[in-house]
Every structure is written in C-alpha cells, then in structure tokens.
Subunit: 223 residues, 2 copies
DNA sequence: ACCTGAACACCGTTCAAGT
DNA sequence: ACCTGAACACCGTTCAAGT
C-alpha cells in the first residue's frame, strides 16, 4: 500500500542493491573512503538508513566480499578437472584484480557468504569426480586457493599498475639505497622488471600451470 | 591510570622500541584495538609522543610489518637452493602465523622496509647462484611468495585454531543450511575436517613440496 | 510504525599555549 | 626547545523525539 509518488523515481533500497553499490563505491573511491556516512550520501540516504539492510559495517564488508565471489565463474563440471580448475583460477584472479580492496578484507572476514560456499562446493565436487581422494581434494583446494589469493595479494600490494608507474617506483626505490646493498634485487629490477612489456600479472600462469601439473602427477600416482 | 613512578628509570623511546612494542600490542590485543591513544597509553606516554618516532599511523603499520619480516630466517647460501627455499618458506609461515594481523596489513602497505628488501635480495641471490635464469628466478619468487602469503591469509581467515573450535564452527556452518545444499563441502567437512587430529596448518607442506618439485623440474628443463 | 537529527564514545592528527 | 592538553574534523552506532 501507500505507493511511492511516481514523480520521484526513487528505487527502494534492499540488501542486494546496497551491497552492489558498496562494491562500486569501493572500486571507485577505495575501501578507505567507504564510511557509512559517505557511502550513504552517495546513495542519497542518511547513514542510519543503511542499518535497515545490514546489521553493521562488518556485515556490509562481508557482503561485499561475497558479491566479489559471486563474480567468479563456477567451475564447469562438463570439462575435465584441469581445464575447469584453470578457468576458475583465472576467473578468480580477474575478479580479485577488478576489486583490489577485496583481498585485504578477507583476513578480517567473519563468515563466508552463500556465493563463497557454492563456489567451494563446486570445486570439491569436480575434484572428487575426477578421482581425487578426499584428502587429496583438500590438498588441491588448499594449494590452488592459497596461490590464487597470495597472487592477488601481491598484485594488490604492488605500488604500480602501469609500465610508467613501474619505472617510476622502481627508480625511486633503487635511488633510496646504495646500489650494492641489494645487488640481486637491483639486477633483477634493472634487467627484468624495467624491461619494456613487463607486467607482473603475466607471472600468474607460470605458477598456475606448475601447480596443476603437480596435482595431475599426484592424482596419477596416489589418487 | 597507573602513573609511572618517577623513581623507576624511564627508558627513552626510540623508533625501534616503538615498533617492537606495537607488534607485541597487536599480538596481544589485535590490530583492531591498536589506536594511537591506547597504544600510547600502554607505553605510558601520550599518543602525541608517538609522532616523535613515526610520521603517522601508516608509517607505524609499515614498520610493524617490517619487524615481522625481520623475524624470517634469511635463506642460507650455504645450502642447496631447495632446502634453503624450503626453510625460508617454513620460517615465513611461522612468522606470519605468530603475528596473524600482519598478512592483512600487507595489502595497504606503501613501501617495503629494509628487512623486506634484504630478504628478497637473499632469495634472488640463491636462485641465481643455483642456475635459475633471471626470468625463471622471477617466476620462482612469484609462485613461492604467492603461495606463502596466500596460505598465511587462509590460515588467518580461518575462524578456528583449535580442534574444539573447528568442530564448533563447522557444526554451526553446517547447521545454517540444508544438508544437500553444499553436498561436497559437507562431505569433506564431516569426513576430513572434523576427523580427530585435523590441523589445516599441515596442508602447508604438501603445496610447498609440490611447488619446489615443479621448480626443480623447470630448472632442469630450461634453466 | 517509521524516520532521523542529535548525541555518544570514540578516532588520527594539529597546534597553540605552557614549561 | 620541547611537551602536551585541548581542539578539530572526522568515525560507527544508538536512541529519543518527532512525524
């Protein structure tokens, strides 16, 4: 009853809309500027109205991480386990790269949301169907997710994201200490990182294939 | 409260002492309770006195992470690359496990401290001496560190750290949804996680050996 | 029954006033 | 020249008062 005045095309908020708006806000302004007041203002509501949809800020942050997880492709059960795991790893990295604040939130996260649980369930299901024992499926899950999250964390930590920024930052760091204090780090920076076309993101696939090959070997040897 | 007795010799603060005290404070009370005021109070000084030793709170957090890195064993150049990398990985995990707040801080970290740089330099040096090409040393560095950090992140994220907590939390999560909603996750939890003696930390070595073996293979094949 | 402005108990950081 | 209490501009969250 009591319909909204149609002159005001105000779409009512709900939990889902709040979470998606918060993700967009963090993408644009950084998680550090996401305060209940400023975020509320961006939606045209008072901060206190947000508490209608989330119990508190922690729950908002939990929900945001779950939105990011929902963007990760569920691994396809129609494919062999290896391409399925490869695709979901790449998809996970892309999602965490689109929302760089997400990985830093995971440490303080209290409880996994439905998208997270659904994703974990699908991964375990595919590994089990491929013949991994329960223990080996747990091993595989652990090493793959650790790698994905750790890589995302390193990418988020990098203070540069373009070639120019890379050069600038590397020069600045190198200039801060005598050249012979960290000789190997200096050499690797000069001869590798500062070479044209360098992009740390390209390192992801090397490690991913190394791990997938290792898991294949473990599956063949011991199930 | 509890004003310092003027008879007690007051050891003057310096940057190093402040950083170490902050690490101990975060270990005990959690990084969430580390405010400049409360931390200052724990040292018997006003919050403003801390700004004598660190420019701001961000610099304090940066310094704390560097203290954690300084606790990681530098990899020994006297050993073969594989045992050297294994030992430093285990040492890194232990340090990050002792100071669980540290991994969550890394994402917002602005610039690496001397302990971090020294550590990176030693790792690259050992890999190069073992015959890894520059590109392959960069690959190895990336996959090893991603794995270590990601594992630490997952461990810090786990809402349980003892067997009883594990059982409690698992039961609670399982109770939250119908048993057939996440069947594989449920099965793995019941048949693996809730079995006596389960400790997620034990998963670390499986992935570590898998990665070290993969790197050895890559070294033999391509340098 | 709902909404929200004001208030509360905090933050990090600045700075003028005091020694 | 140093130190620090008070102040400033924020926070997340509560709640009584108003509709």
């Amino acid at each position: 009853m009591a319909p909204e005045p149609s002159t005001e095309p105000r779409i009512p908020l709900n939990r889902d809309r709040v979470l998606r708006a918060a993700v967009a806000f963090a993408d644009e302004s950084g998680i550090g500027s996401l305060t209940m007041r400023k975020f509320g203002e961006s939606l045209g509501v008072e901060a206190m109205s947000l508490y209608k949809h989330v119990a508190n800020k922690d729950e908002l942050l939990d929900g945001m991480v779950d939105v990011v997880f929902s963007e990760i492709d569920l691994p396809s059960a129609a494919r062999d386990w290896k391409p399925a795991m490869r695709q979901r790893a790449i998809s996970a990295r892309e999602a965490l790269s689109r929302h760089r604040w997400a990985i830093g939130l995971m440490e303080s996260r209290t409880s996994p949301g439905p998208a997270t649980l659904r994703h974990h369930d699908a991964v375990i299901g595919i590994l089990r169907a491929a013949g991994f024992s329960i223990a080996m499926a747990a091993h595989a899950f652990s090493v793959l997710d650790s790698y994905i999250y750790g890589f995302a964390l390193q990418e988020a930590t990098l203070p540069f994201h373009t070639a120019e920024e890379t050069a600038q930052v590397a020069q600045m760091i190198l200039a801060r200490f005598p050249r012979d204090e960290y000789p190997h780090l200096t050499a690797l920076t000069l001869e590798h990182v500062l070479q044209p076309g360098y992009d740390y993101g390209n390192e992801f696939e090397f490690g991913l294939e190394l791990i997938l090959d290792g898991l294949e070997r473990a599956l063949v040897n011991t199930g």
